[in-house]
């Protein structure tokens, strides 16, 4: 067995007659920052959700940090603790403060004492630059702040890998930067990350490897530089061209 943090083998998933994933194989090593791009509806989000089994694949196996989460008697909840997930629409718990959002899984899942959990929550909120917003409820935060709380919430569980499902797609353009900053910092600290995004500036700057997904399979993958500047697959080239046209210009300052 390799020492990959995430290993995905022959993943298949269909919704009714629509085959979303048609045999995806993937290995992500510790410290890698993998950016996943591709047209919508090609199974990028489904693949992420199969990794922590929020979506159960029809076929295929998934290992997280050496444990097979798809095994028949796997302790799924316990393996999930090691996979942090950040959603497009934040999904902060709306009845809890920012601090409460970070604390709740620490006390209920990790069985930490309230004091310990609060201390760790404050540390994580500090890490995303929001310790002064700890007592605010999600409705009182901006989109960018919500997403940073969501990142802090996932980080507090001390995950082996972080999954980001289009983390900036629901944000106003001026709020994207603050979230990307936090993600870049994480990448620099050596966090293993799988990021579905259209933010090419982020991809170019921090990702170590990119994959291009289309029609439920990985059409092309390679080191970021190679995929960016010398894509082999004509569709990759076309897609990158389109996306750079759309998002490319504001990337410098993000």
């Amino acid at each position: 067995m390799s020492n990959a943090i995430v290993r995905v083998e022959n993943l298949h998933k269909a919704y009714g007659d629509t085959e979303v994933l048609k045999g995806v194989n993937l290995e992500v090593d510790e410290g890698e920052v993998l950016v996943v791009i591709g047209p919508s509806g090609t199974g990028k989000s489904t693949m992420l959700r199969c990794i922590n089994l929020l979506t159960r694949p029809d076929q295929g196996r998934v290992w997280v940090a050496g444990d097979e989460i798809t095994a028949p008697h796997a302790d799924v909840n316990q393996i999930r603790e090691r996979v942090g997930m950040v959603f497009q629409d934040f999904n902060l718990f709306s009845h809890l403060t920012a601090e409460g959002n970070v604390m709740v899984a620490l006390t209920k899942v990790k069985k930490m004492s309230k004091d310990e959990a609060r201390k760790l929550a404050m540390f994580e909120l500090e890490r995303v630059g929001l310790s002064d917003k700890a007592q605010l409820y999600p409705a009182q935060l901006s989109g960018g702040q919500k997403q940073r709380v969501a990142i802090a919430r996932a980080l507090a569980m001390d995950p082996s890998v972080m999954l980001f499902d289009e983390p900036t797609s629901a944000l106003d353009p001026e709020l994207i930067g603050e979230v990307l900053e936090v993600m870049k910092k994480l990448a620099r600290e050596g966090m293993t990350m799988i990021v579905v995004t259209h933010e090419m500036g982020f991809a170019r700057e921090v990702s170590t490897r990119m994959i291009f997904m289309e029609h439920g399979v990985i059409a092309e993958q390679g080191p970021t530089q190679q995929l960016f500047y010398n894509p082999q697959h004509p569709r990759t080239r076309e897609f990158l061209g389109k996306i750079t046209e759309l998002y490319g210009h504001e990337q410098g300052e993000a």
Binding site: L54, G84, F93, S94, K108, V109, A150
Partner: protein, 223 residues
């Protein structure tokens, strides 16, 4: 008007009845909630057979008049178990209310976005933990206005138990009216007491709703 002192003298008697009305209402509401909540959860999160069973339960009970349920429990079952009238009343109203409470709780649970459950599971919570710590605190807040409505309905329906001989508010009003021949005044007084109880209950729940309301965006609260 010479009967007025007599009627006023009966006021404590009527209020005692109101207390019984209140007791039946509270017990029926609580048992309705205790039965309705698990059924609502089964309906939303349960496997197909359990969800179907829960749905069938609610469809059947909502299709029966409370009085019929009461008569079945009190008279119909008398050959098997002789339930005291008070118990039969609470149980009958509780069953009927459980079906309505199940539906209103189901609506509230479903209006908590699916992302909340997903995020909770992604953090390693079991489904039950997610329901208890994430879904219900939000759903129950959302349920308060319709629950307040249901409380008013059950309070008024509690007058049905007079049909099995319980001396609750309506029954006692009838007795006083028969004795004093002042139906209009006595029943108006009875109506007033019912209204006061419903009004206070709803106001109380409105208050609870406001107290538990989650903060809204900052720009809206800054006035």
């Amino acid at each position: 008007m010479d009967k007025l002192p007599d009627i006023l003298g009966s006021l404590p008697y009527l209020l005692e009845g109101a207390l019984l009305t209140l007791a039946i209402t509270v017990l029926a509401l609580i048992s309705g909630f205790v039965i309705g909540l698990p059924l609502a959860l089964l309906r939303v999160y349960g496997r197909k057979p359990a969800a179907t069973l829960a749905a069938a339960y609610s469809t059947v009970l909502r299709g029966l008049p409370s009085l019929v349920v009461l008569f079945i429990l009190f008279y119909g079952m008398a050959a098997v178990v002789k339930l005291p009238a008070f118990l039969a009343g609470c149980v009958a109203l509780g069953f009927c209310s459980s079906a309505y409470q199940m539906e209103l709780l189901r609506g509230a649970i479903q209006s908590v976005g699916p992302g909340q459950m997903m995020a909770a599971r992604a953090l390693g919570m079991s489904q039950l933990q997610a329901i208890i710590h994430i879904i219900l605190p939000q759903a129950l807040r959302l349920a308060i206005p319709s629950w307040s409505n249901e409380a008013a309905v059950v309070l008024k329906d509690s007058s049905l138990v007079y049909a099995v001989g319980l001396a609750e508010l309506l029954r006692r009003s009838q007795q006083v009216a028969a004795r004093t021949y002042q139906s209009f005044i006595v029943y108006s007084l009875c109506a007033l007491i019912y209204f006061a109880m419903t009004f206070l209950a709803n106001r109380g729940l409105d208050h609870a709703e406001r107290a538990l309301r989650l903060p809204t965006p900052l720009e809206e609260t800054a006035h």
